[in-house]
């Protein structure tokens, strides 16, 4: 029946349009989510910053929410987050990149079959388990300290750095390496002086992702870092100072949010806003790195 056929076609046509709309709205959810997250954090955090004063909040050196009058300076936590991230990067990146070189250029095939899933597993282990490991294996040696947090975070960013650096190294055309060999360079010279620079943008992306992970990490850091809000001047003399505790932005939120009220609570949400802005800035840089990689 031709008439029914046309009806059918119209029906399926409208279904096509309907489903297209459904898929489109699914795609729009991620945009909506980013907007909502920014909106809610800013709307709840900015008034607190306004009451404390932006300068007092960002550059104040004492965090004493229970004193009268209370002081809400998060500079110690900003310094703490940066310091711990820096430490994690300086431990995790050299070891990670060298391991990636090993995986891409030196690893025997049989070993690779075990090593690759093992690294993936390292990436999948929850941060609480890292925290428990840190409490039992790192804290007894180094104490609840900056150095413990750096070591643990360095370990946690290893799989990220290794995975991304390895795929960047593998994307380098083989002729680069072979050409270097033909010019008389040794194996490692060819790898570190030719292949690694060629993979630079990928390795940079790995480092940036590692920074993001280290700065945002919460549970593992809380469990090993001691969590005292402290200024850099307390960290001298250098080797001894690094064995003192420190508090990061993330730790500040989790530890006090449970019992905070009023201005204290707003200050903690504002801490989250600062953290979010940190990450958004890093993401902008990361987007740049990726775009450069494409060109």
């Amino acid at each position: 029946m031709p008439n029914g056929d046309i009806m059918n076609k119209n029906k399926s046509f409208s279904l096509e349009i309907l489903m297209r709309g459904v898929f489109l709205s699914c795609a729009a959810v991620s945009i909506l989510a980013v907007l909502l997250i920014c909106l809610f954090l800013f709307a709840n955090g900015i008034p607190g910053i306004g009451k404390i004063g932006l300068l007092d909040f960002l550059t104040g050196t004492s965090w004493k929410p229970n004193d009268i009058p209370a002081s809400f300076g998060i500079l110690p936590m900003i310094v703490g987050s940066c310091l711990v991230t820096l430490g994690a990067i300086s431990i995790g990146v050299p070891i990670g990149v060298a391991s990636a070189v090993f995986m891409a250029f030196c690893c025997p095939k049989n070993l690779y079959k075990i090593l690759k899933p093992a690294i993936n597993l390292l990436a999948g282990i929850p941060s609480v388990i890292y925290g428990f490991f840190g409490m039992a294996a790192i804290v007894p040696v180094f104490g609840n300290s900056i150095i413990s947090a750096c070591i643990l975070l360095g370990l946690m960013i290893l799989p990220t750095v290794i995975g991304l650096s390895e795929s960047a190294l593998r994307a380098v055309p083989e002729q680069f390496y072979e050409g270097a060999l033909a010019l008389g360079s040794g194996h490692y010279r060819a790898v570190y002086r030719v292949a690694l620079p060629a993979a630079k943008s990928g390795v940079m992306a790995a480092v940036v992702l590692g920074v993001g992970r280290a700065i945002g990490e919460t549970m593992a850091v809380i469990m090993v870092a001691g969590n005292q809000a402290r200024m850099p001047k307390d960290m001298f003399p250098i080797p001894k100072g690094l064995f003192r505790g420190i508090r990061t932005l993330t730790a500040n939120i989790v530890i006090e949010m449970g019992y905070a009220a009023e201005l204290h609570r707003e200050a903690l949400i504002a801490t989250g806003v600062v953290l979010l802005i940190f990450i958004l800035i890093i993401n902008l840089c990361f987007g740049d790195t990726l775009r450069r990689k494409k060109q």
């Binding site: 898929f23 989510a33 999948g124 194996h187 993401n283």
Partner: protein, 278 residues
């Protein structure tokens, strides 16, 4: 390669490279060994009794809550993530402006730390929507968190389906929708599934986003609007109390087993895709 014939600089780099790799492997073995060593002695039957009290420190309610939490957040996030990926991969020009923008947003989502998700979940789902500390508030928070992962992996899986298949389907008179559901999605399903399993791994391991959204009540929740703690949160609370560290490590062992199983499953699926390509 003969080590004895190497130049000194080559030898140094050789030692450093192998050293780094060995250090990585040792760290992993040490980590897993330590958790097993500390946790296995405490892995007793009482740890698996149905109700939690401070004598048995049972992890069973937390385990059940973890399963609920995983199902709920996947129920919310998987259709959204797959739908979004279908739109990006099948309906619009692949490098168009909208795709770039959505991808930028999902990359931003992927970079946001879990504690920020936790704060947002607390402000939006718990307070603004008045759901209170509940399973459902936690699940919604987590579903936003795993959305970029699901979108990314599904999009990759869809892209790996050859265009010839789509053209063949169109040629046989199928519409767009039928092509997507009957041809493209089945072919991409192992890749999509691998992504979903990775997302399960993230849900199971998450702590910071859940403490202030689903709360820390240690019993099996009677409804989705009740507070509940997952295994990871359970471990964190135990470490904070400091009284039952042994049981904490035993919980870590269970969690580790779950994570290893998830990883193995995802890897075997990924291998299936690799085999399909050849």
């Amino acid at each position: 390669m003969n080590i004895k014939k190497m130049k000194p600089t080559e030898l140094i780099m050789h030692v450093l490279t192998w050293g780094a790799a060995i250090l990585t492997i040792c760290a992993l073995i040490y980590l897993i060994g330590f958790i097993l060593l500390k946790g296995l002695p405490y892995l007793k039957p009482s740890l698996f009794s149905l109700t939690y009290n401070s004598d048995n420190v049972s992890l069973m309610p937390a385990l059940i809550s973890t399963v609920f939490m995983t199902f709920l957040s996947l129920l919310i996030a998987a259709p959204l993530g797959i739908g979004a990926a279908i739109y990006l991969a099948e309906y619009v020009r692949r490098e168009g402006r909208f795709v770039t923008f959505v991808r930028m947003m999902s990359e931003t989502l992927a970079g946001i730390p879990s504690i920020v998700y936790g704060l947002f979940g607390m402000l939006f789902f718990v307070n603004a929507l008045r759901w209170g500390y509940s399973l459902i508030a936690g699940a919604f928070t987590l579903s936003i968190m795993i959305l970029p992962l699901l979108m990314r992996s599904t999009e990759e899986a869809l892209k790996s389906v050859p265009d010839v298949w789509r053209e063949g389907s169109f040629g046989l008179g199928a519409g767009k929708l039928r092509t997507v559901f009957k041809v493209v999605l089945p072919a991409a399903s192992p890749g999509i599934l691998a992504g979903i399993i990775l997302a399960v791994g993230r849900v199971v391991g998450e702590t910071a986003a859940l403490i202030f959204t689903s709360g820390t009540v240690a019993q099996v929740p009677s409804s989705a609007l009740k507070s509940a703690r997952t295994l990871s949160v359970h471990m964190y609370v135990l470490s904070g109390e400091g009284l039952h560290m042994g049981e904490g490590y035993a919980t870590a062992v269970v969690l580790l087993v779950v994570v290893v199983a998830i990883n193995a499953l995802s890897a075997s699926l990924a291998k299936k895709i690799g085999a399909g390509d050849k």
